[in-house]
């Protein structure tokens, strides 16, 4: 088949258009939403997910350690160390509330415990993007946690500027929420501790009748009371210990 000169020129033009179009498309796509192989989703969703995972781990510690990240002063029972929320080492005397404003303390404990990890989330993101030829600028981190009914709110903001060439993406808000009964369990624990500090006891049977969604287990162990406050629906439990009005053997 013979092709005319005119046709050849046309063919070259078409090929050129295809090539140029391909190049243009390539560059066009490159300027679109930033998607990286190692980070799934967008940067904000990555940070939100990463910070949530970090906070979730910390929340688990808080559940185990009665409001602390690590138990510093507690009683060991069945191999587990139960954090004292209320304690008096002397006999017959009511306990002192060792962790007032527990909800605020927990918010701060989790924040401090996860701050570095949250920063690591950003650093990871930055490193990952920089490896792919992006330039990443980050501002100051504003990070706080809030225990609210049914969940833990993460307030996280940081100016994040991702650029390559003339393309620029900015992010600043990475707030997220973890569904968790922590707020409720802490409130119940507060009620228990308040009662123990005032009256040397807590009437859990009556309380469970009022609030059937929660199970409160009590173990009397060596003049200590070990409490496990359980959210029946999720099975999540908050554990702590109290030593109040201990009565010694004999008199």
């Amino acid at each position: 088949m013979r092709i005319g000169k005119k046709a050849q020129v046309t063919l070259f033009v078409i090929v050129a258009i295809v090539i140029v179009s391909g190049i243009l498309i390539f560059f066009y796509l490159d300027r679109g939403p930033i998607v990286v192989d190692s980070i799934s989703g967008t940067p904000d969703s990555f940070i939100e997910s990463c910070s949530r995972d970090t906070v979730q781990e910390s929340i688990e510690k808080v559940y185990r350690n009665g409001g602390e990240i690590e138990t510093s002063f507690g009683v060991r029972y069945q191999g587990e160390l139960y954090n004292y929320l209320c304690y008096n080492g002397d006999n017959y005397l009511r306990c002192y509330n060792l962790h007032p404003l527990l909800e605020k303390q927990i918010e701060e404990r989790i924040r401090v415990d996860t701050l570095d990890s949250v920063e690591d989330c950003f650093e990871f993101l930055k490193g990952d993007f920089e490896n792919k030829g992006f330039s990443v600028e980050m501002g100051e981190t504003v990070y706080a946690l809030d225990l609210i009914p049914g969940s833990v709110d993460i307030t996280l903001s940081k100016d994040l500027l991702i650029t390559r060439g003339s393309s620029v993406q900015t992010y600043s808000n990475f707030d997220s929420r973890i569904v968790s009964p922590l707020y409720e369990l802490v409130k119940i624990s507060k009620t228990i501790v308040t009662s123990e500090s005032r009256f040397c006891a807590f009437e859990r049977n009556g309380y469970m009748i009022f609030y059937p969604d929660y199970d409160i287990k009590l173990i009397n162990y060596d003049n200590n009371k070990i409490y496990r406050v359980i959210d029946r629906l999720s099975g999540i439990e908050f554990k702590f210990a109290v030593r109040s009005c201990a009565v010694p053997a004999g008199i």
Partner: protein, 1242 residues
Amino acid sequence: MNINKTKTIVGFELITIIMSLFSFSYIIELQSSYFEENVDDEENGILNKAITFVMKKIMDPIIPLVSASGHFSLEVTGCCKTSVDNEICSVVSRDSCEEGAEFQEGVLCEESAFCQRGCCFDESIGSFYPHVIETSCKDSWVANPTCDLPAADLGCCFLGTTSRFSTYGECKIDTENWALSNNAAVDWDGSISEFVCAIKGAFPTEGACILFDESCSIATIGDCFDSGGQFNEGYLCTAKVLNTVCEKTEETTCVAGKDGVYFVDSCGNAANIYDASKVNDQRYWEKIIFIDESCGYTNSNGNGGSLTCGNCDRFKGGICRDAFKDEINPEYGDNYCKPTECIVTNEFGTITYETGESWCDYQGKIGEGDDVVGSLHWINICNQGVVDTTNCGDYRNGICVQKNTFELGDTEVAFRGAGCATNNGDSCLALNQDEDGIEECEETLNCYIRHIEVSEFFQFDVCVPKYPRGFNVKSERSQAAATEICGFASLECEVVRELDFFGSCGIVANKECLTDKFAEEMNELCRGMGDCGADVNIAGRITENYKVYEDGERLFLRLGSVYKNSVRALSRNINGQVAEVEDYTPYLRAVGLGVDFDDIDVGSSRIDDEFLAQGGINFAAAGGAYGLAATYSAGYAAFVAGGDIVVPLSIAYQAELAGTSAVSSAGAAAFAAPAIGAAAGFIIGVLIADSLGLPGIAGIQMGVGAALIGAVAGYAAYIAYIGTAATIPVFGWIAAALGAILIGLSFLWGESCKNSDVKFTCEPWIPPTGGDDCELCNEDPNKPCTLYQCNSLGSACDLINRGSSEEACISDKDDGFAPTATPAVGNLFDGTKIESTNNGFRITDTDGGCLPANTPINIPITTNEEAICKYSLEQIEFEDMENFGSRFYTLEHSLVVPLPDPSHGRSQGLEFSEEFTIYIKCEDIFGHIGPVGSRYLTVDLCVDQGRDFTVPEVTGTSPGNGFSLGYDTNETDFLVTTNELSTCKWSKTDVRYSEMENEMECNDLIFRPSNPTGYLCSDILPLNEPINTYYIKCMDQPWLEVSDFESRNAMRESFIYTLKRPEEKIVIDYILPDREIITATDFTSFEIEIGTNAGGELHRCSYSISGFETMVPLFETGTSRTHIQTGLSRPVGNYHIYVECLDVLSGDTVQGETEFKITKDTTSPQIARIFQDENVLTVVTNEDAICKYMTTSCRYNFEDGIDIGSFRTHTITVTRGDSYYIKCKDEFENVPSSCSIIVRAV
């Protein structure tokens, strides 16, 4: 055995036995001479000394004062802010207090400024925490330990379809979070009880709320309005008429706060109760149908386990739960009514309990002093189908009480309720000291009167605990206390003999005291004291821990097999037995708990007909539920009313709450019972406060306890060591009753035949040797083994891996060898030394010579493993030997004894030798006795004999030297004791013995001192002056003839003794409060303050809110003339407080009363005047107030308003024509719900 040897032994044993008893337990004497002197001594406070001793023991655990080893090495203890073990505010030794941490010597933390309790709060979030020390609080702190602050009041917070019981501040935060808006109106009501709040939250008025985007949700009218939706009351989102996108489904859900299983629509809204027959019935998806019109409403088991109906009722037997987890397949959806009942099978059969029911479990028989060693009281709760078991406290420190029915209106409903109450058993023993103690016993909680009857002349009543507490057999401190408590049952019976017709001595009274019956009867009393005497453990094994002596010689009275079998049988459970709930109301009223259970307005907690009509939980049918919930409210009210009770009473609240539990199942009619344990705890509190002077805790010198705890060295050593005259301890409760009888008998029959004293000594229970039963403790996973239980099963049993998941009771390993003993040279008293001999050692003075007579020496030995040692002056079987010091498995052992003077003994017809040997054997925890076979560890002793050149010493007086007697006292009985048998005289001038004009009566015999502190003389002293001084001198060896008078030694220096009598009788100057208290809360805290004057140096005051019959010591009393009870909390109302103050030393009392009123200020500030000048509007209120305004409407939160100042005058710069909606709030947080005033500017 020759006669001389026997006599030596008798003489020595008399001394050692008596002194051991003085060292380790007090005895209750039954000697007539004693009674004569002491019958009326109570008013002088003598009898109180005995109980004071025990009460000091009670205090001991509060202030772990010292470690006593050898002599009294005092360790400085006090309140430490932070200990090296991270303990906050605990009493520890100075060494255990963290370096740099605050430490206050000799003070309990409750009295220490740096450990003052207060309220830590953040008002912005409405969070308040009581009982916090200031340095623990990072936010606001006020010295109000119970947070009696207006903003801390709890109320019902409505959040959409749910409710929470919270503070206003918490409600505000929750509302903002729930509504996602800072301006959402807060729906909080402080007048609603927790019970009603919970119910209202569960059954709000709901309907379909359609938003502008046509989405639909189930909401309350208020919420729907707030979100700008269209409210359709009573309609479901699936109603055809509403034409929403929501459709019916076959799915179900559980709803927080509700029992039932609900259908769920395609929008995720809970619809009506799951009813499989109506899944496709559109009519069932139109309107909200109440549960009383839903399937299975009348089902008696709350549809528990039903696959087709989700109308669960947890009180009848069902509650919504995930079916998948329980491997249940309901016809539709993934949820079902999980059965909530508990089916329990035990040795007596199968019993079904409803959820919320609670009941007691015991280990063996309980009550009447029969609780067996190692047994605990257990409480079970049926918790939504699961039995939850907890012990009420190790060592039976808690008892489980139970009630099986409660009254609901006119109907008695079967519903079991139990609670753990503090065991107040020790207080029963204390009642025996009181004149009316036996009568009080019947009225006192958990006490009962045991009648002991051995013979016609040896019978008496004793107040003892129904449920005696246990002791720790491996704790020296606990064993010291156990020795004291068991010692209460160590009694003597005097067997009276008289010449018969044939000229021989025959027994005319109390011959039964020489029979086994005496041992058995006395053992019953002994067992009733606690873990004492011959008793059985939970494994059914008996050990016998008692001895009987006749005139100091061991009498081997045995317990019969029938009796022992009856004791053994106590370890078996009894079907249906329970410790009964008692009436604690008087006790609660006495301390002003505000729990007038008769008057509690149950109606305030009663759900109204509207809720019932709505088909809420079927409370009427499930009567138990109502009882439970209502009573919980009552109990809650009770402890709110109780407020911040003083430390000693705190345990009362433990009990109170336990009581709440017990009553909760007992129902509304049993409101007297919620305080089940309150009174128990209260009694303990009173005892502690009364006897220890808790008010003066801060002033208690730590060293005081040293002598009390110095059980190792013993009381005799204590006397010798401190070298000063002590106050004579005297016991007289049973003695007083029997004394007159015996005195009378003695008079009738004369004394030509010698009577004998048969003494039963009650000792602490020790476990059987070995560890064969240890594993029994690990068998029931629902009742985990405790230290007490484990140790009771065998002396070799030990709870290992404590705190780990491998914790278990196992037997120690037996090395197969008997223990070996060696002298502990370091613990010798000064002036003695030890020399080794072939089979042991010899104790001499430091020059190697004989030891002086009548001076206590210590014989100390150490064993290579924990053992109990015994001694004898003959080579006899281990079982028949006497205890060498304490009956406690330990490494250190010591026997403190003053050696008898042989020459004195001879002159009294007793043959002593100056040389003798003590034979010792020791037994380890496995029963290996060493030295084995016929060998003994021997201790050779030599005592000086010959002429006595030592003058006697006064070792004690009663009343104590320097004591103050009553204002009206003109004369008093007086006792003096000496270290050796003497005659004593007294004079008002300091003259020689022979010139003293008043001879005292001294009837003791040699080696038979009738008092722990020595040989007793008595007389009556006149009191004429405010300060009366007497000079006392004694002369030893009264048995010597007058011609030997020069051989006797008279004191050259008088013992100077003073008694005081107040110039004026104690008076009460004032009692506060005496006027109206205005408060902002339903309950307010206040304090009672009493000022006293005149009288003696030490005053103590008590108070009561119910009457003079039930007085409670004030917390701060005894240290000054001002007496304070802080932390009382009472609801508004009129109050009458009864006060009684005691001049402790004189015994004088004075009573007073005060009346006052607590008024709640519920009125918001009123606008007194308002005027406008130019564009300035001035608002004047009738009291100081904070005023705010907005220009939109009255429907705003006060906090959001624009501030126009505090005080009484408030100004606004106004714009003509604008309206100003003004609200004013006073210091009690009273603010109108609408506006204080609405003003339009002109």
